[in-house]
Amino acid sequence: MTVVPSTRIYEGTRIPPRVPTILDVDPHKHDLGDILRVNFGPNHPSTHGVLRLIVDLDGEAIAGIEAVIGYLHTGFEKTMEEKSWWKSVTYPARIDYLGFHANELEYVLAIEKLLGIDVPRRATWARMALAELNRIHSHLVWLGTAALELGAISMFWYAFDDRDAVLDLFELAGGTRFHTRYVQAGGLAEDLPPGFTDEVRKFCAAMPKSVDEYEAILDKQKIWLERTKGIGLLSAEDALALGQSGPVLRASGVDWDLRKNMPYLAYDEVDFDVPVYANGDVYDRYKVHMDEMRESVRIVLQCCDQLDEMDGEPWIADDRKVVLPPRHELHTSMESLIYHFKIVTEGYRVPEGEVYVVIESPRGEAGCYLVSDGGARPWRVKFRAPSFAALQATATVVQGALIADMVAVAASLDFIMGDTDR
């Protein structure tokens, strides 16, 4: 793993000394009487959701900043404590509503780890394919909205057109565009429809050309370069100290991707590269997102080849205590009927224990800390939200920026308020 030394980006640390997440105004500036406190309220077109930024301005330069969150706190964790294991799978998808598959996946992986059941490989590869499609979807929305805020309005339409194509694939597999609730403890809720891999291949044939088109529009565009190069610097040491992960960490020169370094699902059996850039600015984060889309297409194509070979294999585990038996069995087997009844009414039970499962969501390290008391409902579910950590870096990355740059910097951190507030 390579780490670019911090002197390449800036000397020392820029984490504010008093409170790491609040940039305080230099008291000397207060005496000069030039500070204007502006509220970028929760309702603002450019703050990607209900984020409130209290910004102290010295002219156009940002002298102080504090991020206030909690406007979308939905109480997922407490609500899930009251639902049975099977029913609570509908909730995690809505936490990070763009990377919905990643959240469902981490929760279900945690349940499966506690249960100790084996997931059939068809389900594992299908989950991987959907996770990568989800990554493409999330990055496309990020690209569309970030470019929109910086003024490249047409990118919004291009990116969303491709995004609709990805959501069509999710609809084909899971029945609905997003929040599919397609993963289930033990595998997938239903088999992939026939012809799914053909549709995915058609999409993957067109996607790299789209990414090339987006890069042709933005990569060398003078205004884009001026608004993103050298803005929002974050050194590798500061990024690690602030708990950053995902594209933000990789753009700061740290070669770290859970899919490669601590593989889960079947990521150690596919061939892909991890883009790492060394400048730690908004432009590099943009480049990481673009390259990741290409790598995801590579992974999805490999998954499609494997899924075609596994056609006809089971898509969910055989453990009747956890997974509903196939319907045709209910007519002939008494045990199946009892299992079905038990699972539908009481729900299955998960052995006592605690696990922490982390995956690489489109935003970075997303984890689920699950505590079970052996009962039919979770005792404690805690989601590690990568956006929560990303917003902690606001006070550090925005130093030296002007008010117009703040929008670019905030967009580059790629946070989702549902994920931040849970």
């Binding site: 077109p45 209900v50 979308l72 939905t74 109480g75 609500t79 809505r94 509503y97 929305v141 959501l167």
Partner: protein
């Protein structure tokens, strides 16, 4: 957001202009869950809009609290705002939202006054 994209395209209905300022907006679409912390901010935005103004509650969470019945989610934005159209779904498909907007157009053409004239907020 997808309704603005080229596939679903609400520009066909003349609705593509997203106003950043409530003072220049006619329609407020509340999409997604509303927390008790956010409710005063939304009410303030609604109050800043000039009459006539309409509200669409988009999604199950905005209409009724949806799957979240807990200490933090407002059980329906119609507790603080008079809502004209509720669009169900979690999440609602773009077609559903377009249907909601089209029905709002039909309501307006039929002469039905905006919600604040005929009803207040839920109890």
């Amino acid at each position: 957001m997808s309704i603005v994209s080229s596939r679903y395209d609400i520009a066909r209905f003349g609705m593509e202009r997203f106003s950043s300022s409530p003072r220049q907006a006619d329609l407020l679409i509340v999409s997604g869950r509303v927390t008790h912390k956010m409710a005063p901010a939304i009410r303030q935005v609604y109050d800043q809009m000039l009459e006539p103004k309409w509200v669409i509650a988009m999604g199950a969470c905005a209409s009724s609290g949806g799957m979240f019945n807990n200490y933090t989610i407002l059980q329906g934005v119609d507790k603080i705002l008079p809502v004209d159209i509720h669009v169900p779904g979690c999440p609602p498909r773009p077609e559903a939202l377009i249907e909601g907007i089209v029905r709002l157009h039909e309501k307006i053409r039929a002469g039905i006054p905006p919600a604040y004239e005929i009803r207040g907020v839920a109890e």
